[in-house]
Symmetry: C2
Subunit: 418 residues, 2 copies
Amino acid sequence: MSILVKDVLLGGKRTNILVDGNRIARLDGRPRAEHVIDGRGKAAIPGFVNTHTHAAMTLLRGYADDMALDEWLQRHIWPVEAKMTEKDVYWGTRLACLEMAKSGTTCFNDMYWHVKGAVKAVEDSGLRAQLSSVYIDMFSQGKAALQRAEAERHAKRCNAGSRVTISLGPHAIYTVTEESLRWVKELSDKRGLNVHFHLSETRKEVDDCLRAHGKTPVEYLADIGFLGPRLLCAHAVWLSRREIRLLAQHGAKVSHCPTSNMKLSVGGAMDYVQMRKSGVTVSLGTDGASSNNSLDMFGAMKSAALLHKMAVGDPTVLPAADALRMATLDGACALGIEAGIIQPGALADLTLVNLKRPEMTPLHNLESNLVYSAGGGCVDTVICDGSIVMESGIVEGEEEVIEKAGKAAMRLADKNET
Amino acid sequence: MSILVKDVLLGGKRTNILVDGNRIARLDGRPRAEHVIDGRGKAAIPGFVNTHTHAAMTLLRGYADDMALDEWLQRHIWPVEAKMTEKDVYWGTRLACLEMAKSGTTCFNDMYWHVKGAVKAVEDSGLRAQLSSVYIDMFSQGKAALQRAEAERHAKRCNAGSRVTISLGPHAIYTVTEESLRWVKELSDKRGLNVHFHLSETRKEVDDCLRAHGKTPVEYLADIGFLGPRLLCAHAVWLSRREIRLLAQHGAKVSHCPTSNMKLSVGGAMDYVQMRKSGVTVSLGTDGASSNNSLDMFGAMKSAALLHKMAVGDPTVLPAADALRMATLDGACALGIEAGIIQPGALADLTLVNLKRPEMTPLHNLESNLVYSAGGGCVDTVICDGSIVMESGIVEGEEEVIEKAGKAAMRLADKNET
C-alpha cells in the first residue's frame, strides 16, 4: 500500500511524505497515494526505538513497587513470573505494544519468557521488534542443553529484515555460565543474531565479578571474547573508563534506562558524558513496566536529560536534540535496522505528533517541546513498516487488548496469592 | 448547580459523589442532581494542587533550554519578560490553565508580572489559584514604594475563600531588601495573606547570604521575623538540618520542584527525608514552563519519587502514596484551602481518571499507576469549585486559547529579536 502524509512539519518545513510498501519513498513533489493523511497541525518524527523492554511485564505493572531490589525480585516478581503461561505473555505483550504505539514507539528490543507468545503478539500488533528468550543456566544442572536447544529453535525464526526478528538473550554475567556466554557469541556470529544482555546494573554485580574473576564485568567479557558490534548491553551503570573504552573498541552498544535506574536506586548514574566521548552508541530503554512503570519513550527522554544534568551538575549536558537522537536514530543503530530517521529509503516507521495541544504550544523549539513537555498523549498517528498502526489517536481493537490483558493480570495475581 | 458522579472508583470502592454548590455534599446513597456524570471505568482523585508556578511563562516554553542558569536568565528570559504586556500574561496564563486542567490540576500558586492579566485569565479558565505579583526592590532606588503600593492594591482583591485570591510575592533574599521583607510579613499578618517566596534554590544563594549576613538564609529570615505558617518557600534545596527545624518550628511550608531543580542542575536534591521527619509540609510544584517545561503534575510526582530514591540510594524512599499526597492534600494544606481530599464538606475540586487506558492497566495498585505510569492523557473530567472545567477530555474554547497564546508567544519572540 502507498500512504501520503500531506503538508506535515518535518525539519522545520511543510513536507509531503510518500510511503510505498514498507519504505519511505520520497519527501518532495505532490505524489498520489492510495491513502492520504492530512498532516496539517502535526509534526512527523521517526518512531521511537525502545531498546530494553520485558514487554509482558505490563501484567505486573504496580504489582510491587517502592521496595528493595532483592525483595522486589525474589519475593514478588520471580514467583509470579514462574506462573505465567504463553497466553499471559501474549496478552501482556499486546498490552505493551498498545501502550508503546499510543506513545509513538514503533520498534522495541525485548527479553522475556515464552517468546512464542511474544512473537505472535507483536505480529498481531503491527509493531516492529527484536525478541529474545531469557537464557539463564547458572542455577540448575543440565539447563544449558535445554536453553540452547530453545535458543536455536527460536533463532531459525529470525527472518532478518522482517518486522519481527529473533535475537539471543543471555541474561547477565551473574546468571549465565562462561561456557554458555561463549556458546551464545559463537551462535550470534554464525547466524548474524543480535545479543541482548544486562550489564553492570548494580555495584554488587561489579563487586561479585571482581571477587570471582579478579576483573570487572567488561574486562571479563572482553577476555572470553564476548564483546562485539552485535552486543547490546542494558544499563551499563557501573563502568570504569577503561570498560567504556573496551565497549567502544568492540563496537558494543548500550541501552540506557534512566527511569528504571532511578526507581530501583541502582546507586549511580551511567557515565553518559564519557560514553559519548568514547563513541559508544547510547540508545534509550524503558525497561519492563514493573520497574518504570511506563513504556512511554517521551518519559525516558526527559528522565535521561534530567538525570545527567543533575549527575554532572551542568544544565548543558544531554540537550534535547541528544535525547531525541538516542530515542530514535541511535536506537535503530543499536538494533541494526534502517530506521530512526525520515528519509527516502529508510523503513517507514514514523509518528505524527499533534501540535495543537497546550503542551506543544508555543513552537519555539520542536525538539525541546518533544523532550521536556510532550507525553504520549500528543501522539496522533503511527505508521510502522509502511502500515498504519494508529490513526487520529485510535488503535483498532484497543478495548479488547485492555480488557483481556487486565483479566490475565488479575488471574495471575490471584494464582500467586493462593 | 449540583453534579452527581455515579459509580466512580473512590478509595477502592464504587461510589456516588454528590457535588452541591462548590462543595462535596455526600458520598453515599443514590441522590439526584442537575447534571450526572457516568463514573464507570474511572477513578476519582482530588484535583492536583501545583504550589509553584510562573504560569504565563508558558509563552517561553522551549525558548531557551539546556544552558547555564545565569545565561538562561540574564540573556534570554529577563529581556523577553521585560517586553511582556498584560495581554501577553493573560494568554500565557490561559494556556497554562488549559494545560493544567487537561492534566488534572485544579489549583495553583503563582508568582508573576502583570498580575491583573493573570487574575482575569484564571477567572475565565474556571481553575482555582492564589496569585502574587513579583516583588523585587533591591536593584533600583525608590522601587519599594511603587511595589508596595501595587501589592496593597492587589491585596484588596484578595477575597479570602473565593476561587481566585491574591498573595504576596517577595521574590527571594537576593532580590528583596530586609526592610521590604519585614514590611511584607507585617502586611501578611495584618491582612491574612499568604507569602510566596523562593528559598535556597542554589548553593550560590547560601554562600552569598553567609557572606552578607554571617548566617544561612533561613537563620537570616528567622532573625528578621519573616518565618511563619503563611510562608510557602519554593525549592528549599540547600538547607541545613537546623534550617529545616526552623521551618518546622514556625510552620513554614515548602514547595518542592524536582523537575526544575534537575533541569537547571541546582546541584543537589532537597532533603526530603529530613523534612518529613521534622514535620515540614512538603508540597509539589512544577515551576514555570521554561524551566521544566511541563505543567503536568503526574510528571512532578514521578520526578519527585525518582529523584529521592536515587539521591538517598534507597528505592523505598518517597513511595507512590507520599507523592500523591504531596500533589494533593499537602498542596492544599500549603495554601490553606479545604481541598486535596474527597470528603463531604471539602471544596469540590476533583479529577476523574480514565482507567480504560493501557498505562492504567492492570489495576493492581491505583496509586502506583497514577505516580509511575499515568500522564495527563489519562485525565477524563475535571471539576473545580463545583463547576465542570473539562468533561470527556474536552475543555470549552481550547482551540482559541492555543491559537491566541501561540501567536502572543511568537510576537514576543519577534519583538525580542528585533
